[in-house]
Amino acid sequence: MIVAIFCLIIYSLWAGPVLGAKKDCFQCHSRRALLKGNAHPPVARGECLKCHLPHVSRYPKLLTQESPELCFTCHKKLSDRLQKAPFIHGPVAKGACRRCHEAHASSQKNLLKKGPKTLCFSCHKEANIKYARPHAPFAKGRCLSCHEAHYADNRLFLKKKDSSLCFSCHQNTEALARIHKVKNVKGLDCLSCHNPHGGPQKGLLRSFKHPPYAQGKCQTCHQNLKAGPDMCFKCHPKTRSDFYHQHNHLLGGYEDNACLICHAPHVASNKEFLRDKPRRLCQRCHAETAKQRAESLYIHPKWKECLACHLAHGSDSPSMLNGDGNSVCVRCHETQGKFTHPVGEKVRDPRNGQPITCVTCHNPMGTNFKYNLRLSGEASLCLECHKNY
């Protein structure tokens, strides 16, 4: 009797996946197609029922659950780490595992749909640049040599912070220190001067050179480092008055020289010497804007071009807009500037007595309503002021 029960258990454990999958599933679904290249372990073991239901399901492809919950039933470590991760890759945050991974098998490692370079560039199109001198991992399409795919503790999803990532391949030699005129290069921010993807010249230096640096006149700045922003204003006197506005970005004390929060002192990839593209640079401090964007259905098409609407140094308008709540919009939206709901000094918002502007009703940073309206344009927005309608 005991032997019979034992045999029954063994049979049922074997028969479930094997009969359920190998025999039943593969009668219709080509086994060869599903097991091409590197196979997902449950597929290789014929455990189709780990992910699929045989008869009916409320999810597509007869899945037992939706992604990513289904994936996280096995990949628990990843799920746990994502809970604590400060930065999560967009598709991962949306639970879109299958945007990068195949479910059954792939010719690529980690069941990737395509090679890392092709796959990454399918979204990160702006990074797909041909350089005269590309960085070797970039040229070989080894994005994952430097970047994490799922989560990271930094906005660029770098595997290691600061220069330690670079020194995992490059040797920290005396010669390197001599070139950089320091005792130890480990404390330097390599990415401030070097483009990690590539550049026009040896050393992958960024293209735009600050004149004192280009001329080798290091002491122009380095003898005045203690002066902070004043050092920069000596050569850029007009910039000083950019900060004489009600709202300004001069966050003294945030770094020894507040200008260097946003600007690189030696070389940069843009003529403004910004440390990064505005959409990434601004988010270093204004992380909540990215959160608002992620939670919004409607976003202004120029959302990523912060400086299209905002001034970087100073402004007399809230949010450091480049003009009041009308003029900043009318520069592009010319028609709305002439024909719209009455706006301006003489038209007052009954809720607070302030002049009505475009941003009274619209929020370009992102909302859940068409045209970036703050509330539904069907009724609720209008009823805020027009109570009798």
Partner: protein
Amino acid sequence: MFRMPQKLLIFILSILCLSIHLGWASSLKLTVSISKGPEGKNLYQPLGMFFDPYNQRFYVADTGNNRLLSFSLNGTPLKSFDAGGQLKGPYSLVRDSKGKIWVVERPFNSLTEIDLKAHRFERHQLSCAGHPVLVDRIAFWQDYLLVLDRASGMVLLYDKDLSCVKSLRPDIEDFKGFFDFKVKNDRLWGLENITGRILALDLKSGKILDIVRPKFLVSLPVSFELDEKGNFYLLDRYQKVVFVFDKSGTLKHRLFKRGYLPGELNYPWQLLLLSGKLLVLDEGNGRIDIWGH
């Protein structure tokens, strides 16, 4: 005689203790909402607020209208002043014991001295240790004028001749500069840029006396206050709320919500706590809301 069950008694006492402990902030009610000056003109982008204990009035820098306004503590508008049209973009202000008004005019980066009795209006450009100062919020302590320098993130002490006598910077490596400050009981309390950390310094020695770090996420902290019970009030301009937390940094309340109506916040800029009243200056709504009981 009626005998209350012991468990019920304990329960009621616990609730009572809890409500006393948390009470003040959670039971705030909007008492007055000020949106107009004495002549009926709406405030426009006001950015500065100062309470004068000598005459029990509070003063507002109505920045967008280039004027100063005074109000009684119950919110009655008293006077409007624009120095005969000379005043431009007043940003912050204080009134000294002699009745002189000191105003920061941001378009000129000046500390402007206004002596009404002597009919004097003079703009001063400040510097400290040879460096020009980007004048921000100001306050008085004893005979010193305290100036927040946005260029260095430090609070500078000026004597009556406007000579810079001291600069206050916490002696910690990761200090990121002050964005706002208050003076209470010979202590300088400063709100750090971006982080929301609040530091207390001894005004005489400059030594750090306290560091309070919020244990919750802040986005854009722009002003703060502290009450006698040791609670901190932190104004978050982006989230449009006031966080109330204790000395350990533990969040106790989130006050107010975003919006345009009285009591709601649009682009809030400054907090002031006066004898049981919390004043919230809202640039976006052009309003000062006074909360009390």
